[in-house]
Amino acid sequence: MVPRFWRKIKYRYEILTSFCENCGNHYYPQREICPKCRREGVLKEEKVCDYGKVLSYTVVNGRTIALVEFDNGAKMLAEVCGKVEIGKKVRKAFRKYGEDGDFGIIYYGTKFIPIEEQN
C-alpha cells in the first residue's frame, strides 16, 4: 500500500483542484479529464484557499467527517477536529490520519478546524 499512498502525497498535503479553462468548473479530487468537456477540456491544477464551510457532516467511529464546500464550488470530504454544524466555517490543517503499524508509514493528510466568526 505504500506506493498507493505515496503517489497521492501531493494531493493529500495540499488541497488541489482541477480547474477546467474551457468550462470554468473546479473538481476535487483532481481529475485527468473534464467530465463536462471531456477532450475539449483543458485542466489545470489550482490551489484552493484554505477556508471552506460545512455542507453536511456525520460522526462515525468517534470522528467527525464533513463534506466541506469551497468558494469555487468544489467539495471535499475530510475529518474535522472539533464540533461542527451545517454552515460552520472551517480552515485547513495538516494532520495525521493513521499509520501502518509501529514500523510502517504514517498517513498524513488534510483535516479541518472549525473557526469562530469575528463579532
Binding site: 497521492k8 479530487p29 467530465p35 453536511s56 462515525v60 467527517i65 467539495k75 470530504l77 490520519y97 498517513y107
Partner: protein, 383 residues
C-alpha cells in the same frame, strides 16, 4: 423480444453458519428450477451477481465453481459473475434480460449470492463500494456517506429521525409474514430511536444488516414461456444508470441522479408513469435510501418523501406499498443476492402468492443500488 420470468427461488436470508457458499447457491438455483418445472440442461447461460467472493470467502472464478457444484458442468453451460457492489444482483438480472431480449438465448438463469458471515468485518468489505482513496481514506465508510446525505436532507427539507425510523418499523412489520426474512420480528419507533448511532443521524436500526443468502430467477422469451409456464411475469423494462462515484462530485447530494435517470428511462420504455406502479421493492440499505427512492423514483416530489411514510402511503394497503418483503432492513442484505431477491418477491406479489403480505398489483418496480448510488438498476415487471 419480450422476456418473461418463469421460475423463482430464494434461500432463507440470515446467518447461515452451517451452509457453505456453494450449497447456498445450489439451494436457490434448484428452487428456481423446480418452480419453473424444468430440468436444468435447458438453461443456455447463467449470470451471477456477487460483490466480493474474493474478499468475503477468498474465492474468485465463482461462476464456473457454481456451475460445477450445480451439476451443470456436464452440459458446459457458460456462466459469468457480475460485480456492481450491492447492485450486482440487479445488474446480473439486466444482463440476463438483455441476453434473452436480443434473441441470443432462449432460457437463462439470473442469480445472486453472497456469503458474508465467513468474513471478519462484512461492513468494511461492503464499504469497498465507496472511493477508497478519497472517501474511505478520510474515514467515510458507507454508513457515513449515507449519514451525510441524510443530515443535509433533514436540514433542507425538514425530514427528521422519526421519519427514517418509521421506515424501519414498516419494513420489520412486513417481514413478519415473509418466511425467508432474517428478522421476522416487529420493532417499534422507540426501539429505533433508542438504538445507538452508527453514523449520526443514522442509528443501528436504520441500517440493513448484512447476511448470507442466494436467489435465482429463470428467464425465457415469450414464446417459450407461454409453452412451459402458466403464470409468466413479464419484464417491461430493465434499465441501469451511473452517477458520479463520490458525493464530493455530485451537484446535489440529496438526489441520487442515477435513480432519476434509470427510472425515467424505465417508465418511458414501459410506457407508464410513477403513479402506475402498484408495488415496489427498493434498496433500503439505510432508511434514508428508501426515503430518497420515494422521491427519485417519482412517488413523491423532492423533499416530500417524508409525507409518504408519515401518511402510511407506503404501507401494505397504502397508495404505493414499498418493501412488502421487509426490504433489506428486515430481510437482511445479502449484498449480491439482494437485487435478485427483490425480483423474486415482486414475482410472488404479481402471481398473487404473497399470503398475508399480498397487495393488489398489476405492475411492480424494483430498485437496486450499488454503494452510495453510483449504480442504480430499475426493473419494471407486470402480469
Amino acid at each position: 423480444m419480450r422476456v418473461a420470468i418463469i421460475g423463482v427461488g430464494c434461500t432463507e436470508f440470515g446467518e447461515l453458519w452451517d451452509k457453505s457458499f456453494r450449497s447456498i447457491f445450489l439451494n436457490a438455483g434448484l428452487s428456481a428450477l423446480e418452480d419453473a418445472e424444468i430440468r436444468g440442461k435447458e438453461v443456455e447461460a447463467i449470470y451471477i451477481g456477487n460483490m466480493s467472493g474474493g474478499k468475503f470467502i477468498d474465492q474468485e472464478h465463482i461462476a464456473a465453481l457454481i456451475v460445477d457444484h450445480a451439476g451443470l458442468a456436464e452440459f458446459g453451460i457458460p456462466a459469468i459473475r457480475i460485480e456492481n457492489a450491492d447492485a450486482s444482483g440487479g445488474s446480473a438480472f439486466r444482463q440476463a434480460y438483455m441476453a434473452v431480449a436480443s434473441g441470443i438465448h432462449e432460457i437463462v438463469i439470473a442469480a445472486g449470492i453472497e456469503k458474508v458471515t465467513d468474513a471478519n468485518d462484512p461492513m468494511e468489505i461492503l464499504s469497498t463500494a465507496v472511493d477508497q482513496e478519497w472517501e474511505k481514506f478520510v474515514g467515510a465508510n458507507l454508513p457515513a456517506i449515507y449519514a451525510i446525505i441524510a443530515r443535509l436532507h433533514m436540514h433542507r427539507f425538514g425530514t427528521n429521525e422519526e421519519d427514517l425510523a418509521m421506515i424501519a418499523v414498516k419494513n420489520h412489520r412486513n417481514a413478519v409474514h415473509n418466511p425467508k426474512a432474517q428478522f421476522r420480528k416487529e420493532i417499534n419507533l422507540e426501539d429505533v430511536m433508542r438504538s445507538s448511532y452508527i453514523a449520526e443521524p443514522l442509528k443501528v436500526l436504520d441500517c440493513a444488516p448484512l447476511c448470507d443468502g442466494a436467489s435465482a430467477v429463470i428467464l425465457a422469451n415469450e414464446e417459450v414461456a407461454k409453452k412451459i409456464c402458466d403464470t409468466p411475469i413479464y419484464i417491461e423494462a430493465c434499465t441501469q444508470a451511473s452517477d458520479y462515484f463520490s458525493i464530493q462530485n455530485r451537484k446535489d447530494i440529496t438526489t441520487l441522479q442515477a435513480v432519476v435517470i434509470a427510472s425515467k428511462e424505465a417508465y418511458k420504455i414501459a410506457g407508464v408513469e410513477a403513479k402506475n406502479v402498484d408495488v415496489a421493492e427498493v434498496h433500503d440499505s439505510f432508511t434514508i435510501s428508501e426515503l430518497l427512492a420515494y422521491e427519485d423514483l417519482g412517488f413523491a416530489k423532492k423533499g416530500e418523501g417524508k409525507k409518504l411514510i408519515r401518511e402510511g402511503e407506503t404501507e401494505i394497503g397504502g397508495k404505493i406499498p414499498v418493501n412488502t418483503s421487509g426490504g433489506l432492513k428486515a430481510c437482511g442484505h445479502a449484498v449480491g443476492a439482494t437485487g435478485i431477491r427483490q425480483i423474486v418477491d415482486l414475482v410472488i406479489q404479481l402471481r398473487g402468492e404473497a399470503g398475508k403480505r399480498q397487495v393488489n398489483a398489476e405492475r411492480a418496480l424494483a430498485l437496486n443500488l450499488g454503494g452510495s448510488g453510483a449504480t442504480a438498476v430499475v426493473s419494471i415487471l407486470s402480469r
